[in-house]
Symmetry: C2
Amino acid sequence: MTTALDFHFDFVSPYGYFAAEHVAALGQGLGRPVRFRPFHMRAVMKEHLGVTQALADLPLKGGYIRRDVRRTAAFHGLPYAPAPTAGFSSVNASRVFTLLAPLDETRAQAYALSVFRSHHAWGRSPNTWAECVALAEAAGFAASDANEATHGARARAAYQQATQDAVAAGVWGTPSFVLDGELFWGFDRMDFIAQWAQRHTAA
Amino acid sequence: MTTALDFHFDFVSPYGYFAAEHVAALGQGLGRPVRFRPFHMRAVMKEHLGVTQALADLPLKGGYIRRDVRRTAAFHGLPYAPAPTAGFSSVNASRVFTLLAPLDETRAQAYALSVFRSHHAWGRSPNTWAECVALAEAAGFAASDANEATHGARARAAYQQATQDAVAAGVWGTPSFVLDGELFWGFDRMDFIAQWAQRHTAA
């Protein structure tokens, strides 16, 4: 049985966006399906790391990260023009994703990419449920697939579960990857994952 | 004029050890001399990041880091058998380095590598001034070059200055690299530095 490469991320993360743009190619190289698992980074930081401040607001580190994000985007030729981080909540976008993925993982990943691009490249902040449903429709879903009145409670529970699953897998940062139980953190570790897999997985 | 690649590190850092084993090759590839700049990571964490807990002691993150350090060492074929981190202070080793570097940077780097290997590969903790002088002698210095009674005060001041210089250069983690004013953090960014330099420096 071929197990998936799990891709854990929060839509607020610029490195998550870069990773999302590359993860399909990584999965293909590995010969593994990719499973997108949005989780709630702020909840993990608060409940498990004891951190309440956003990375970008830390002295020294915040300035470096902002510079590195722009440098990384330029290096990979990815458009990068984010809306203000403070004005974006990934909660509804993630909840809607949990409804879409069981219906069609491929289209759900296209939806996820459009959320990432929307915030990090097109300067928007799809905060409301309705905005997220519009992105789902653009990815080929029916509006009823993600109707809030019908499915909202299930989506909230699934998102909480995804966050708990991420923590149970050892995830503490975004983006993270889990391959055969091995955890990797960071966009800049994606090349390493391919090399690691070559050494550690049977042909 | 060819400016140096500055390599900022704390001897306690395992990723600093891995970086130290590779930085000479990076400098050669760049055609730049490498300048070793040990700094006091704990002081930077406490005074500038508001962090008092060691990375390895954080929940979730600590376990990942320990695993990643072993995985990284194995991947690069570097011996890794550290003495307990809690029993090692890099302060005297760093102070002694500040006395050696102005005399002979090449030998001082050999001394620095022996400090790194001593702690991270050979399970020792060169905490005392005398132990550090012994490593300096093994690297070709005279014991008098790093005599504590004669030079101790100067070494303490130079180490404080190196830490202030690191912060002034934007450094907040170990290892970090500064090339032409551009800051890079992390052992796993060393390949990126070479690629970045190719794009950004004139021939």
